[in-house]
Symmetry: C2
Subunit: 252 residues, 2 copies
Amino acid sequence: MSRGSVTVIGLGPGDPRLLTVAASEALAQADDLIGYFPYVARVPERPGLVRHATDNRVEVDRARHALELAASGRRVAVVSGGDPGVFAMAAAVFEAVEQGELEWRDLDIVVEPGITAMLAAAARLGAPLGGDFCALSLSDNLKPWDVITARLEAVFRADFVVALYNPISSARPWQLGRALGLAAEFRAGTVPVIFARAVSRPDEAICVLTLDAAREATADMATIVIIGASGTRMIERASGQPFVYTPRSVPR
Amino acid sequence: MSRGSVTVIGLGPGDPRLLTVAASEALAQADDLIGYFPYVARVPERPGLVRHATDNRVEVDRARHALELAASGRRVAVVSGGDPGVFAMAAAVFEAVEQGELEWRDLDIVVEPGITAMLAAAARLGAPLGGDFCALSLSDNLKPWDVITARLEAVFRADFVVALYNPISSARPWQLGRALGLAAEFRAGTVPVIFARAVSRPDEAICVLTLDAAREATADMATIVIIGASGTRMIERASGQPFVYTPRSVPR
């Protein structure tokens, strides 16, 4: 029996041209494809590839399934949007490894990185992540809201650019408003805030607002929100959307 | 005269298989290639491609040169290692745009994202960035050291995973030791710290230490250091290097 493996693959933000060559090669070698159904749907069908599309919020079950298949000798690809290590499947796979069969630890488990949403969004606008920055999930499904607010306050106070993943969902309608309200306690109302939805996909929608205006704006699950630091700047242009960038220097 | 352009391209950590398709296509279309010489050296020569390799630390001169060439009708590729928006050339290009000729604002300027060092390093180890995390440059060439220490203290206190870019150089020998010493004021000495050097290149060297041991370790300019959060865990394995991951959940 051939030795099984699990490759946790980042599909990037959506456009297949934003996959790495290594990620494409790993997809081409898989026997089984496991993931949340919109990500599985991005991978073309081919003979010999068994597809296991699942609903969201069953990450550890999905990870255990992948490890079981690998232990039986299958080459399994677990797919995530963006980068699998950033609020995606890689952590769930290693949680399942640690909690699971001892033999799973010595399976061939590889992570293929991808372009995570904040990098794709930043690239569309200019260089908003040009200084020190944080990535924070606004979901309080897996961590208490008071931890989230303490972290937000720390990084707003210390003047990091802040990328918010999972800013909103139907079950979490008010968290983004609170986060932007907290930002306004530490930053000027003129600081740029980016709402980048479905970057590189056909329904891409990007807007740049001031923090004051952003507090009235809405987002959805497919959006990443990037809150500028005090130094983040907009460059207005005749030909369209402004550029947004954070200078490399912090004045004394 | 054809319309000139500037494409700021992320070459990823080194292995050409970690480039995106879009980045490769942009390199193939360039008339001029501009960048720090080790990055320029990664791009194969071809007829019609003019190479402008420069020394480090002249980022804004390099960016102005790119914009001048584009304004004269050339298609210019500016290359960075990793992702150009993360402590790399994109911010320098937009600084040059803002400070330069007004017409530069309406040039065709595109950023092609890449796999930044922390994502490449994290993928090699497991999922150390599985929770909230920060990316911080430890270089005090462009920001005061007291800003750096205030930021470090904020994110150590708030229990972020911390990725340190530019941890050390011959001109900055002591900053990394200070940063790890500060980490030890907030985190247990058993927390995993990753030193990932030249990920995906022939001279790749990765080690995982405890914070206590890391304080005695050395690094160089090609290294990224990732300091685990309180929840970051190592999974020991019979077959080699431990996995390192940060669980998605934060206990109440």
